[in-house]
Amino acid sequence: MVDRIGKETAIAREAMRAAQRMVDEREASTRSIASAIEGAPAPRAADFEPMLAAGVERLDRQVNSAESLPIDLLTGKVDDFHEIAVQLKNAELSFKFAMEIRNKLIDAYREVMRMSV
């Protein structure tokens, strides 16, 4: 019995490690996407929380600046259509990117939870 519990725990631990690896892989690829969008290197935090917090902050800033765009267009503050389009597109992509991270995190969490301990 102890033997079996020991084996199951080992399996569970292995599963957790596998899940973490999978999530890390996703994190790495999304980090490169983040730098492609931002044009600046994404934070190098090894675990999620700081990276997520920074990402959310960045997204928030972009969405805010995108929200003021219609007003800026009306008041003539924003320069040109192509600049507006690019800013809006960046905000849109950041948002999609954040949604995708959220989805992957939820998937990974669910998969880990599905494993019997």
Binding site: K77, D80, L88
Partner: protein
């Protein structure tokens, strides 16, 4: 929508060209219509009218830039001579039998009219060009 937005500024430049050329065409039409008017209400034959064009200048980003054109005023051509024709039977003939005709050269007016029309169409094409470029920029959002 004002300010430094490129497309709208551009369209306004073209609009100024359209307006100016239109005014020129109106003046040319008046000249042509009165090419043989020997008697005006003020007395004497019709005098050819001319339009003066000047660029619209504005300071953009610290530089002086041309932002269009305007027909500043309609003047009277006092340089070209009237045409004098011997025709004693004419009701407007003077005591010397000479009739004084307007200083309008029909051929030159027609040539100016064609120039103005071509410029008008070119301004129209240029204006349309801005609309197309704006559409292309907005396509990025689709």
């Amino acid at each position: 929508m004002d300010g430094t937005n490129g497309f709208f500024t551009g369209m306004r430049i073209c609009a100024s060209g359209l307006t100016a050329e239109r005014e020129r065409m109106d003046v040319i039409a008046e000249n042509l219509a009165n090419a043989r008017t020997t008697r005006t209400p003020d007395g004497g034959p019709y005098r050819r009218k001319i339009v003066l064009f000047e660029p619209i200048l504005a300071e953009v980003e610290g530089e002086e830039r041309t932002q269009g054109v305007k027909a500043t005023h309609v003047g009277v051509d006092r340089v070209t001579d009237f045409e004098r024709v011997l025709d004693p039977g004419h009701p407007d003939a003077g005591p010397d039998g000479m009739v004084v005709y307007p200083n309008v050269n029909t051929v030159m007016e027609m040539s100016d009219l064609i120039t103005a029309m071509r410029a008008y169409e070119a301004n129209l094409t240029a204006q349309e060009n801005f609309v197309r470029m704006a559409e292309r920029a907005l396509d990025l959002l689709r």
